[in-house]
């Protein structure tokens, strides 16, 4: 157990926090602008910024593996699709029958992967950095339905909760002689044993929890209040408006350019 500040006031972070909505606006508009601009220097800059921020914020150990899990398979499939079969490719570097590696194909693939990396990393950085309770409180305070805010929060708490449950089942199995070593194969084999009980227990759990949530008024219509105080300021509100406008402008600009190009 960790010590917590004594006294009746709940432990709020002591350093000034950014509003989760500001985080959301920043991450969302960065993703939109990067996609709309589709320029590799911008994508590279965003990737670098994400790396820097996650290292500074101490979330790199979670952001990087998660990004890799998404980007490696996607990147490989892009490479096969565009790297080998790029119709506009002229500079052939190697060819096996219908498959040709062209410089243009590689260039295009590289840009796509970089763009994808920028968007994925921005969103992952956001989800690992934002204070979830703050986000739910901020959304509730703005009239977002309790059920919706709960579902949103659950999508982010779901993975840790499932991991926690899987850990408990694994411990129960280890306590009865299941040997799990550090090897990947051993872990995979152990997980196969945990999958069925995990799903069954999650379903059972969901049933009872639903009754508790309903009884505590989760689906109640009408206004809600928030116990948690979410930091916000005029500067942040302005910044959010600017960010959203910038994202909109980027999309419009892109559409106009595409229209002009036709």
């Amino acid at each position: 157990m960790t010590a917590s500040p004594a006294g009746s006031a709940p432990a709020q972070a002591t350093r000034p926090r950014l509003s989760p909505l500001t985080w959301l606006a920043a991450a969302g508009s960065t993703a939109v602008i990067t996609t709309a601009a589709a320029s590799w220097p911008l994508s590279a800059a965003v990737v670098a910024a994400c790396l820097g921020l996650s290292l500074a914020g101490g979330t790199a150990r979670r952001v990087l593996p998660a990004s890799a899990a998404v980007l490696v398979p996607l990147g490989l499939s892009l490479l096969v699709l565009h790297g080998l079969f790029f119709p506009e490719g002229r500079t052939v570097l190697a060819a096996w029958g219908p498959a040709r590696i062209t410089a243009e194909g590689l260039d295009f693939t590289g840009q796509r992967i970089l763009l994808l990396a920028a968007v994925v990393m921005v969103l992952l950085l956001f989800s690992f950095t934002v204070s979830l309770p703050d986000l739910v409180a901020a959304l509730s305070a703005r009239g977002v339905q309790g059920r919706f805010a709960f579902v949103l929060a659950s999508t982010l708490t779901l993975l840790p909760a499932i991991a926690e449950r899987a850990r408990r089942i694994r411990e129960a199995q280890e306590a009865r002689g299941l040997v799990v070593s550090r090897g990947l194969l051993s872990r995979a084999a152990a997980f196969r044993l945990q999958a069925v009980p995990l799903v069954l227990s999650l379903i059972e759990d969901a049933g009872t929890r639903a009754a508790a949530l309903e009884a505590r008024g989760l689906s109640s219509p009408g206004p809600r209040t928030s116990y948690r105080e979410v930091p916000d300021s005029g500067v942040q509100r302005t910044a959010r408006v600017v960010l959203v406008l910038a994202a909109l402008a980027a999309v419009v600009l892109r559409l106009v350019q595409a229209g002009a190009g036709c």
Binding site: S8, P10, A13, A175, S220
Partner: protein, 532 residues
């Protein structure tokens, strides 16, 4: 007022509450209630009514239908949802009649919840899972009702003080101990001041101080006019203050009346009486058999064990209780320089208040948690390098929550998990059968563990440990959720394992049981182990 079989007037006793005469705030007349998947009714001929300020105890063995009744009364089991009700429910003067057909009225769980607070048997199911601190969890229901922030702060503070949780307000609810979690669940149920409070097995996993606080809380609520209903399989001293006892057996009320009129033999043997200063067994407890002066080397030895949970990676997220040592601060040590040696045949009880680190200590015995300093030796060999699954051959661990330990499709498969590898299929079959026999579950071998009563689940978890015949039996709060019959089975199993040479470590807040069962009692307080 509680009557059995109101629909057959005169067939049962009819007792009055002290505050009888006032209009009941909550009442139910259940001709029958049948789960959709059930063949027989879970409840039949039950009539209950609770006037303001009344105190009612509904007593029954595990599996008697208490929890179903409690959930129906609390609106957690809306008729039509999971089962069909024939009868009526009445809340604050509004009566809803049900006949199990499509024309039945629908209840609104949120409105019902404002009138009837409910604390389920497993307090963890109350948690919203999306609130970062105890304070926010307490406030969850108030937020949904749109209560002003200032009022919310006052209510949270007042409720936390009432339950002894005021120093835990900033903590992640997922990190609370079993007893603290129950207090939080009670807090969530009473914070909005409902006129009725229904609690299912509230005494389970509370330490002595917690039960005293619960008693004080109940008295306070009664004074304010709250109707309090406690469903229990143990007769705690607090329940002697109840105006009415109703005995539930096989889904129906077999007797009811004021406690004074109910002393002689109307309680089923499985309902045990608990005197907090006496041993908790319903059978006459034998004093622990004298143990010979320990000879030879201890089977289990802890030397200078210290432990702290790693700090969480990001604020607001669940912290992983992993054994990997992270960055530690001295002040977060859960265990400090713990020394303990246990010899074959010895039963040692570890007691201590809720949250003292008792469960954490037990998880060190088979290597599920690893000490940050010090060592754990089984049969003289340090277990530091061995996977927990290998140490499990010598150390059997019964977890505090049986649901954490049960994951198979049938009772028999549950007991046989991992047994084949340990002793071979032929012997495994015998061992499994013998273990199920020892805990009285031989007839339930093909049932699904999740469908057993909580007492039977606990016994099944115990059977999974017994079947492996480990040299060390480590039991985490083994008496919690057991009814009287279950406790007698547990007691017999523990004694017989010790007689066969197993070393037994049992962690319990039930001092009465510890005194009756153990050769030696040690207490864990502030992370240090001291003789009790």
């Amino acid at each position: 007022m509680v009557t059995g079989g109101p629909l057959k007037p005169g067939s049962n006793s009819n007792a009055s509450n002290a505050s009888d005469g006032a209009a009941p705030v909550l009442a139910a007349g259940i001709r029958n209630f049948t789960f959709h998947e059930g063949r027989a009714p879970a409840l039949r001929d039950v009539a209950v009514s609770f006037p303001p300020g009344s105190f009612t105890a509904i007593l029954g063995a595990s599996g008697s239908g208490k929890s179903t009744l409690g959930r129906l009364l609390a609106g957690w089991l809306p008729p039509g949802g999971h089962g069909t009700l024939a009868g009526f429910l009445e809340l604050s003067g509004t009566r809803l009649e049900f006949d199990g057909g499509p024309g039945d009225p629908r209840t609104n769980p949120a409105e019902w919840g404002r009138q009837v607070g409910f604390v389920p048997q497993d307090p963890a199911t109350v948690l919203s899972t999306v609130r970062a601190t105890v304070a926010e969890e307490l406030a969850f229901g108030l937020e949904n009702a749109g209560v002003e922030r200032g009022d919310m702060m006052a209510a949270v503070d007042g409720t936390a003080r009432l339950l002894g949780l005021h120093h835990k307000l900033g903590q992640d609810p997922a990190q609370l101990s079993g007893g603290q979690l129950r207090r939080l669940a009670i807090g969530c149920a009473i914070i909005a001041g409902p006129p009725v409070l229904v609690m299912d097995e509230p005494f389970a996993s509370l330490d002595a101080a917690g039960i005293e606080e619960l008693a004080a809380l109940v008295r306070d609520l009664l004074k304010r006019g709250t109707a309090v209903v406690i469903l229990s399989q143990t007769v705690d001293p607090l329940l002697r203050e109840a105006g009415t006892w109703a005995v539930l057996s096989e889904g129906t009320v077999t007797a009811s009346g004021p406690p004074a009129a109910m002393q002689s033999g109307v309680l089923p043997p499985a309902v045990r009486r608990v005197d907090r200063h006496e041993p908790a067994t319903s059978a006459e407890p034998l004093p622990p058999q004298p143990i010979k002066q320990p000879v030879g080397s201890p089977v289990l030895e802890l030397r200078g064990v210290s432990f702290a949970y790693p700090e969480g990676p990001v604020r607001g997220r669940r912290k992983r209780r992993s054994g990997r040592a992270g960055e530690l601060s001295r002040r977060s040590l859960v265990l400090q320089d713990v020394d303990l040696a246990i010899h074959p045949g010895e039963i040692v009880a570890v007691t201590g208040p809720n949250g003292a680190g008792k469960s954490t200590l037990l998880r060190h015995l088979n290597g599920l948690l690893r000490p940050v300093s010090g060592s754990v030796a089984v049969h003289g060999a340090d277990i530091a390098g061995a996977p927990a699954g290998r140490t499990a051959a010598s150390v059997g661990l019964l977890f505090q929550q049986p649901r954490d330990q049960l994951f198979e499709r049938t009772v028999l498969r549950e007991v046989r998990f991992g047994l084949d590898r340990l002793v071979g299929p032929a012997l495994a079959e015998n061992r499994a059968a013998a273990a199920l026999q020892a805990v009285g579950l031989a007839a339930a071998a093909e049932e699904h563990p999740a469908e057993l009563s909580s007492s039977a689940q606990r016994l099944l978890a115990l059977a999974t440990v017994l079947a492996r015949r480990p040299a060390v039996l480590a039991l985490d709060e083994p008496t919690v959720a057991l009814d009287g019959d279950g406790l007698a089975l547990l007691d017999a199993a523990v004694r017989s394992a010790a007689a066969e040479g197993a070393a037994v470590v049992l962690v319990t807040h039930d001092l009465g049981y510890a005194r009756s069962a153990a050769h030696r009692i040690v207490s864990l307080d502030g992370g240090r182990l001291v003789p009790a």
